[in-house]
Amino acid sequence: DPADTFTPTGPRSREQQAAAFRESLNRHRYLNSFFPSENSTAIYGINQFSYLFPAEFKATYLRSKTSRFPKYSAAVQMSISNVS
């Protein structure tokens, strides 16, 4: 997982930021190139995260952990809600 390898090493050089920004521009072109005629579909572009490489973004902002959740069963819920 690229996020595991990335460790913030303090202020980033302008070259690094420029490289990350260029990579973002290329990624936006790729993501927007699919289904261009699909109305209301998501648009991707420059925002506050465009100066980060994906690994940096993930390492900083995507830190939620999960464990298995039980499958929802409407039948079970109905029987519970019928209990007075």
């Binding site: 980060l52 973004f57 830190r63 499958k71």
Partner: protein
């Protein structure tokens, strides 16, 4: 169920917040649904302390990450009362837990539920309508570049990494979508929100869903 429903329209959803460079999305989402649950019960809508959950939820890792389930379990087991954000403000880094006396006013939970609603997003919409905004955990890698519109491609399930709040849904158009509150500030996405296609478990939005009871 109505075709379109959004708890924001009932004035029971607080403003979008910004986790800054703290990996505390799991705390923002849990606190956000507790705020709404109390407002739905008629209490004033107010920001509660995310920092308290970050610092005190000992079964998580503060700004280095955490689990919504662990946070809900901690709230439920300890019956900790969440204080107002003004009393324990967010500082975007982990810190030592502040303890409050029992006389301190605060907001605890009576319970919570956690389910996998994949392939049952209509049931998930009923749960949202019944219980209030829901905590969800999605794969948000492609959200780095999101500007607006309905996310329906480039967002698989299977590797959930970011906790969010689902506040509503809109099935009036050709592509039904969930209305999802993020914690990256109101300049991100659509005023801080993202729209995720309903059906097909886009981004894994239905895999890890929780509700709180107050």
């Amino acid at each position: 169920l109505p075709l379109r429903f959004d708890w924001r329209d009932k004035q029971v959803v607080t403003q979008v917040r910004n986790q800054q460079t703290c990996g505390g999305c799991w705390a923002f989402s849990v606190v956000g649904v507790v705020e709404s649950a109390y407002a739905i019960k008629g209490k004033p809508l107010e920001d509660l302390s995310v920092q308290q959950v970050i610092d005190c939820s000992y079964n998580n890792y503060g700004c280095n990450g955490g689990s919504t389930l662990n946070a809900l379990n901690w709230l439920n087991k300890t019956q900790v009362k969440l204080v107002r954000d003004s009393e324990y403000p967010f500082k975007a880094q982990s810190g030592l837990c502040h303890y409050f006396s029992d006389t301190q006013s605060g907001f605890s939970i009576k319970g919570y539920s956690a389910h996998d609603f994949s392939d049952q997003e209509d049931e998930m919409a009923k749960a949202l309508f019944t219980f209030g905004p829901l905590v969800g955990i999605v794969d948000a890698v492609s959200w780095q570049d999101y500007l607006g519109g309905i996310i329906q491609h480039h967002c698989s399930s299977g590797e959930a990494n970011h906790a969010v709040i689902i506040t509503g849904f809109d099935k009036t158009g050709s592509t039904p979508y969930w209305i999802v509150r993020n914690s990256w500030g109101s300049s991100w996405g659509v005023d801080g929100y993202a729209y995720v296609k309903m059906g097909g478990n886009i981004c894994g939005i239905a895999d890890f869903v929780s509700a709180v009871f107050v």
